[in-house]
């Protein structure tokens, strides 16, 4: 029982960042119909920007995370404007191939810049865990969870309370009608991609100090983001939030009770099971087969 509580707490910390990754991807995938295999590379980018800001520039921890968010948004915007905008009316497979190319190029670019050795990102928090009854948690993990929840809440506000959010929701429902109503589709797409990439980058900057930063960390992050999106249903913010938390907890339980070697298999199995058994996701009614 005590162990279960510990696993749940650890799972929640992981799950919060998975939710960030998932929200970013579900917006890009759902709204732009782009299968963004480079999503995990923005996660890697975030971790390395945080690393550079905290070690080389020596800034405050929060500033490092903000730097990662800004860098993710800027590169995401650039990516949309140069690569995806010219292909907006092409098939989903065409843009998927382009994003696979971006994935490989970004990952090996990172490998060239930072080398293959994993980097440990410094943080200013004490390493002694906070003990609450049977559960022990490192202060860093508490901060990560709090920041992740804050970012999730801001995404909610952005989507539901701002004019841009309304334009995004309208575009998701019906792109052509939204365009007729005066929504600038180009601007909405660029904003969506920049926003989604910024969230992925934030997730990388948050989880980077918990684990390590290395060039291929984004591969698994991409696949986890996809499993969150598939769990939650395309373009579904609630689904992505709940799906992210569920995946984090499922992974912790899998690693704790089955085998730590198969931790990452949980996401793969979720993708296969959900797509085969309940292709519309656990929370949405959106059709995605055929």
């Amino acid at each position: 029982m005590d162990q279960l509580l510990q696993h749940l707490v650890n799972g929640l910390v992981l799950g919060g960042t998975y939710a960030l990754l998932g929200i970013g991807l579900t917006l890009i995938f759902g709204l732009m119909n782009v299968v963004n295999f480079a999503h995990g590379e923005f996660y890697t980018l975030g971790a390395y920007v945080a690393f550079a800001a905290l070690t080389l520039a020596g800034v405050n921890f929060i500033v490092g995370i903000l730097a990662a968010i800004v860098a993710g948004a800027a590169l995401g915007w650039l990516c949309e404007v140069t690569l995806l905008r010219p292909l907006r009316n092409e098939s989903i497979d065409t843009t998927m191939l382009v994003m696979i190319g971006v994935w490989i190029a970004m990952q090996n670019g990172e490998l060239l810049v930072w080398g293959g050795v994993a980097k440990s990102i410094p943080h200013p928090f004490p390493t002694a865990p906070l003990v609450m009854g049977p559960v022990a948690i490192a202060p860093l993990r508490v901060i990560v969870l709090v920041l992740a929840v804050g970012l999730i809440a801001s995404s909610w506000l952005l989507i539901h309370q701002t004019k841009l959010g309304r334009a995004m929701r309208a575009t998701f429902q019906d792109r052509d009608t939204a365009a007729l109503m005066g929504v600038s589709i180009g601007r909405v797409h660029a904003a969506t991609f920049a926003f989604g990439s910024a969230l992925a980058s934030a997730a990388g900057a948050l989880l980077g100090p918990v684990f390590l930063a290395y060039p291929s960390m984004g591969d698994l992050a991409s696949l986890k983001a996809f499993s969150v999106v598939i769990l939650g249903g395309l373009g579904n913010l609630t689904g992505a939030t709940v799906g992210g938390l569920l995946l984090g907890i499922a992974e912790e339980l899998g690693a704790g009770y089955i085998s730590s070697g198969y931790r990452d298999a949980v996401g793969f199995v979720i993708i296969i099971m959900v797509l085969v058994l309940r292709p519309s996701g656990l929370f949405a009614r959106q059709e995605r087969i055929g």
Partner: protein, 321 residues
């Protein structure tokens, strides 16, 4: 290609070890042949049936591990092990085909990636069987009756035969009712279904044949490098296959082979000039550039420019549709 051209090409292929005796060049040609089999295999699914598999390294790896384990632990000889590798890879293809038969596009891709991910994790973690990350060294070289195919020249002929066989299977398949059914499904699934094409049957068939050929490639690879490790499941192999097929020309018979030769020779040629990371960086950028500037691939482009119709066909940028 004219009959003369074909004859010259065949003659050049058959006599190749006699005028290209340098073992290094022969090695590059053998690797190009193995990747040729893999690219032909992926092309069947991607180019003809219109489904992108990003888990093809799984079928390749299953073939490699099956063949290596049977010859090492059960002391089977090469040929039955090869047959088992092909059969097991085909069975994996059948499973994926059955699982994913309702899924299209991105969702099919995700199931294939996840499948490869699970298989790769099993190869790392099931240490009693696979020896984990250390891999399986000392995979024996194949024999053919009394002769050992240990030398590069002998192995070249084995690989050449495998390429010829794979090409023949693809050609036979593509020019039959089955191939026409594949293309019909790729072009317009509801229409194909309405005229009686059994979607499930043909998609599963495409997955099985494609996986079997990838298994053949895996077995050939294992007995050539004489070493198998979880690296055979590396995503890089899948990406290399995709680039070969897309660059050479999806849905053409010669395209994957042209792509395989080009993208095996090119990295080798660049090896002195640039490190592996630079090459992969170039690969990624190249994939992007190909989609933008050469969406149909090299072979269709050459055919179009030689046939005197300067891109008269509508050059759509939707190569996978």
């Amino acid at each position: 290609m004219t009959a003369l051209g074909r004859g010259l090409l065949a003659a050049a292929m058959v006599t190749l070890p006699f005028w290209l005796a340098d073992p290094y060049y022969l090695h590059v040609v053998i690797m190009a042949g193995i990747f040729g089999v893999l690219a032909l295999s992926l092309n069947l699914l991607l180019g003809y049936a219109g489904q992108l598999s990003l888990g093809h390294a799984a079928f390749f790896g299953i073939g490699a591990y099956t063949s290596a384990l049977l010859t090492l632990k059960r002391e089977w000889s090469f040929w039955p092990a090869l047959a088992a590798a092909i059969a097991l890879a085909a069975a994996a293809g059948w499973i994926i085909g059955r699982l994913a038969l309702k899924l299209r596009g991105a969702y099919f891709v995700l199931v294939t990636i996840s499948f490869a991910g699970v298989i790769s994790l099993v190869s790392v973690n099931w240490i009693e069987l696979t020896n984990g990350p250390l891999g399986l060294p000392g995979v024996p070289a194949p024999d053919l009756g009394p002769w050992s195919l240990r030398t590069k020249a002998a192995y070249y002929y084995l690989v050449l035969a495998a390429v010829a066989l794979s090409y023949a299977v693809c050609r036979r398949l593509v020019r039959s009712r089955i191939g026409r059914a594949f293309v019909a499904l790729r072009e317009n699934e509801p229409l194909a279904e309405s005229i009686g094409v059994d979607v499930t049957h043909y998609l599963v068939l495409a997955a099985v044949v494609s996986a079997a050929m990838a298994g053949l490639g895996g077995s050939l690879y294992a007995h050539y490098t004489r070493f198998v490790s979880p690296e055979v499941f590396l995503f890089t192999y899948t990406v290399t296959m995709v680039i070969m097929v897309v660059a050479g020309g999806k849905g053409t018979l010669a395209g994957p082979l042209v792509g395989a030769v080009l993208f095996t020779a090119l990295p080798e040629a660049l090896r002195l000039a640039a490190s592996w990371q630079w090459q992969m960086l170039a690969y990624g950028s190249l994939l992007v550039l190909l989609v933008f500037f050469l969406p149909r691939g090299i072979v269709p482009q050459i055919v179009a420019s030689f046939s005197g119709h300067p891109r008269s066909a509508p050059t759509s940028r939707t190569p996978l549709q």
